[in-house]
């Protein structure tokens, strides 16, 4: 499935009715996700990546902007709720809270299969469930009659992926799918995503703050900062040679598991994180090492630069 997002804006109203403050969580964001591609939204907490995902999933209303699923506008597509949820599925961040601890795992799996008309009897459903579980390296026997907290985080995240695959979706949103999973199990889950595009042609929106797994798994990347996409392009190109100063900062902050790479230069931490949303110029101007006068006055436009987009005055 091809997803097109154009000029997406989401403004939250904070405070009470008497002292409204507008917070632009997603600020004029545009991107495409191609069929069978893993597209990654990368950024720190509060950069708007999760809000963007929620809008794509129909869980949040956009303030402005357009979204198309294979040319169909989101508003039209979502009208048939069953069809929408069949085509668009998600995997959440924390496997321990993805499932209600008082509900059996199989409850979720059977409901998904039966409600979306994938199978019409429990026997057939069980076969389909077993099939999808085997994709993630598990079987129905392991899951039968058991509750979520009888599983480890890694297992739960596999089940979560299998559940999302049950409806044979064309688009999968994965919101930080491995950040709560143990290191030894993380890569095997990331590998599942790697295969999804190749084996099933599913488009994946992979949301994360972890550049290492993004580099490993994503085809294209968009780096978000305070609601803006500041840099977008081919993952390898962007991360091997970042252009935007924020991408550079992100990259050098990744703790690489190799003691020989040392951190020489020091980083400055913003103490005014909330204020950065409300600045009128470039939102990174406050801590950018290359800041110019224009950066403080005017928000930079999206600039095409060697096959990628950068939102920075340096490249004008």
């Amino acid at each position: 499935m091809k997803i097109v997002v154009r000029n997406l804006v989401k403004i939250f109203k904070v405070g009470s009715i008497f002292s409204l403050k507008k917070l632009t969580a997603v600020d004029n964001v545009s991107f495409d996700i191609l069929p069978g591609e893993i597209f990654s939204l990368v950024g720190e907490s509060g950069c708007g990546k999760t809000t963007t995902a929620k809008i794509l999933l129909g869980l949040e209303e956009p303030t402005a902007g357009e979204i198309f699923y294979d040319e169909t506008p989101l508003e039209d597509f979502i009208r048939d709720k069953k069809e929408f949820l069949k085509k668009v599925q998600l995997i959440q961040q924390n496997p321990f809270s993805t499932f209600n601890p008082f509900r059996k795992i199989e409850d979720y799996l059977f409901k998904t299969v039966l409600r979306f008309g994938i199978a019409d009897s429990r026997e057939k459903a069980e076969k389909i469930i077993d099939e999808k579980l085997s994709i993630v390296g598990m079987s129905f026997g392991e899951v039968r009659d058991r509750y979520p907290n009888e599983f480890s985080g890694g297992q739960l995240q596999r089940i979560s992926i299998a559940r999302a695959l049950l409806t044979n979706p064309s688009f999968l949103v994965a919101d930080e799918p491995v950040s709560m999973v143990d290191a030894s199990l993380r890569i095997s889950i990331v590998n599942l995503f790697k295969d999804l595009g190749e084996r099933f042609g599913i488009s994946v929106l992979y949301i994360t703050h972890d550049l290492s797994t993004t580099y490993y798994v994503a085809d294209r990347i968009a780096v978000m900062f305070r609601g803006n996409i500041v840099e977008m392009g081919n993952t390898q190109e962007v991360l091997d040679n970042p252009l935007h100063p924020y991408t550079v900062l992100l990259k050098v902050s990744v703790p690489i598991p190799n003691p020989e790479t040392s951190w020489d230069e020091r980083v400055d931490l913003s103490t005014l994180e909330r204020e950065e949303y409300f600045t009128k110029g470039c939102k990174f101007a406050g801590r950018c090492p290359h800041v110019k006068e224009i950066c403080k006055q005017l928000q930079p436009p999206d600039i095409e630069c060697g096959g990628r987009t950068v939102k920075c005055w340096l490249y004008k």
């Binding site: 869980l59 209600n100 008082f102 509900r103 559940r163």
Partner: protein
Amino acid sequence: MRKLMYSLSELWEDPKFKYSSIVLGLLIFISILSYFSPYDPYKWYLLPTNQPPSLRHILGTDGKGQDIFWVLSFSLRNSLMLAVVAAVVSRVIALLVGILSGYLGGAVDRLLMALTDTFIVMPVFPLLLLLSSLIKNYLTPPVLGLIVGVFSWSGDARVVRSMVLSLREREFMITSKFSGMTVKEVIVGDLIPYLLPIISGGFIGSMMGAIGFEVVLSILGFVRVETPTLGSMFHWMINFQAMLLGYWWWVLTPIVTAILLFTALYTLSLSVNEYLDPRTRVQRIVVVK
């Protein structure tokens, strides 16, 4: 069903639960006996008055010439019925208002919460007094239960709402949605397990409140005291000055019964609340297996 039996057997390990269920069981048994009573509870002076306990009348007779044991049996039946009606009514309203308000949000939420707040500031006691004195002749125990129920849901509706509000933000609610679950399934499967402690604790609490309220109304003479209830037993006992005349069996019967009933309900709610606490319940699922 198997799960329920298992839970009961687990609860039985708790001495609090054991005590309260034995006492309540006994009281319920006595109240059921009323269906086999040899006497009509509304007829006075069928028996010699003020007889101390004997084999014929195990709790003696009172100043109205009635057998105290059989009066007690009818009274317990009526008081318990009233309590259950009040508890069911107030729980149903509290859950309905709380869940609707928290789940739907928006204008519905504001409207329902405005209503709830009003009921919170209402001076329930004087108002109920006024009401019951006005319709004294219509006040059968179930009607009184209904009235008490209608006036005692507001606090818990707020608690339910705030719990639903926080549950609504949980990730598993989104999973349920993407698994195609219906609103009913989400409420039953995702919300109710977390609301159980407040439902059960509130149920027992409003039972206690309703019984106590009936006793107060009866002592004050604001209900039809001819109907045998725990409260009317107090009423006649005080009215006939049984205390001053030294008819200890008549004085002690309602007092001991009331204390037994209230302590049993109280310990039952403590024990059940401990058992239903979601934190320990989640852990127990694994340990039990």
